[in-house]
């Protein structure tokens, strides 16, 4: 447990450094700061749920690494659909909460666009990372339950910060 935990801590520090790099921008726009934990968390959750489902399918022998595989494609489609459902709620929720507890500097539309574009990008990346990690575990004869879920969750955390940074640069 401990070596994995420490390795994951180092990975998470990487995403912290990215956050630190755009700290001034975040401090000036409170609704973006509100977006940080929920974007990171939801990206990690989307990845870990997909990883858990693919691991189970893999153990049951119903998964094949083929783009036309229904199990694979269905779960990938669901991940993107979940992001399209949740991230508009996240964007509007973050803006509403930020405006309730203080002043906001961005409009609700901007925060919505930042959240939705970051969310959909993250869902696609989460699918790619999970597939690569599950396939790697399979090729290396590792149990995907042990390896894939923590790796995917923490990689998605880091990607969450990077993609959010990108969306903030593009849309604000």
């Amino acid at each position: 447990m401990l070596p994995v935990l420490l390795a994951l801590t180092v990975v998470e520090l990487g995403s912290g450094l990215v956050l630190g790099a755009f700290e001034e921008r975040l401090l000036r726009a409170p609704s973006l700061l509100v977006l940080v934990p929920v974007t990171i968390g939801t990206a990690g959750n989307l990845g870990s749920i997909l990883a858990a489902r693919l691991s189970t399918a893999f153990h049951l022998g119903t998964l094949s690494f083929d783009p036309t595989d229904d199990e694979l494609a269905g779960n990938a489609v669901a991940t993107v659909a979940l992001a399209v459902t949740l991230f508009p709620v996240i964007g509007l929720g973050a803006w509403t909460l930020a405006s309730l507890v203080g002043e906001t500097t961005l409009g609700p539309g901007t925060v919505l666009v930042v959240a939705l574009s970051a969310g959909v990008t993250l869902a696609v990346l989460a699918v790619a990372v999970t597939l690569v990690a599950t396939y790697a575990a399979y090729r290396l004869s590792l149990d995907p339950d042990d390896v894939v879920i923590p790796v995917v969750t923490n990689v998605c955390d880091v990607l969450g910060v990077l993609v959010l940074f990108g969306a903030v640069l593009v849309f604000t």
């Binding site: 447990m1 401990l2 935990l5 420490l6 994951l8 801590t9 180092v10 998470e12 520090l13 995403s15 912290g16 450094l17 956050l19 630190g20 700290e23 975040l26 401090l27 409170p30 609704s31 700061l33 509100v34 977006l35 940080v36 934990p37 929920v38 974007t39 990171i40 968390g41 939801t42 990690g44 959750n45 989307l46 749920i49 489902r53 229904d70 199990e71 494609a73 269905g74 779960n75 489609v77 669901a78 991940t79 659909a81 979940l82 459902t85 949740l86 709620v89 996240i90 929720g93 973050a94 909460l97 930020a98 507890v101 203080g102 923590p150 969750t153 923490n154 955390d157 880091v158 910060v161």
Partner: protein, 197 residues
Amino acid sequence: MELRETAEEAYREALPALGASLVGGLLAGVVLGGMRAELRAVEGLLVLVPALLATRGNVYGSFGARLSTGLHQGLVEPRVRAGDERVRRAATAALANGLLASTVAAVLAFFVLTLLGAPVASLPVLVGVALIAGLLSGIALTAVVLVVVFAGYRRGRNPDTLVGPLVTTTGDVFGMLFLLVAVRATLSIAGFLGGGG
């Protein structure tokens, strides 16, 4: 199974847990948004936030998973008052792992930011914040995981499906709340000692 059916089932099963942790994540965000004064006062604190939140999730997710395996195997009695030795050992190990990972995160963040020439608070302040936050959120999360998993199990719920959403939801909220408490405590101790913050 057909693609459409698989996608619909995966969507339906994941939505409630994701919705619950979305609420937790937004609340954690409100705390972070309200911490702007502290973020400015303790430079480098924002760099620590993802590592500290992820540590809570990783450590207490694993504690919850152990607990639910123990319940399934009949090795753990589902009562908080039972003071089961196995549960106590797992809780102590989780707290120790959490504190160690938090301290490592604070020390590494300090050295990396110093190397990069970025402004950073003093090492004792960063480590103090990480330790106090780790201790307080660790105690709170241990209590929540024990109470909810035991209560759910006694009511016939599968603890495996409770642990994930529970830890991601409460881990973010408690992680941020106790980080705020820890920063305020550390700053007032540092002020009292006359040291820089």
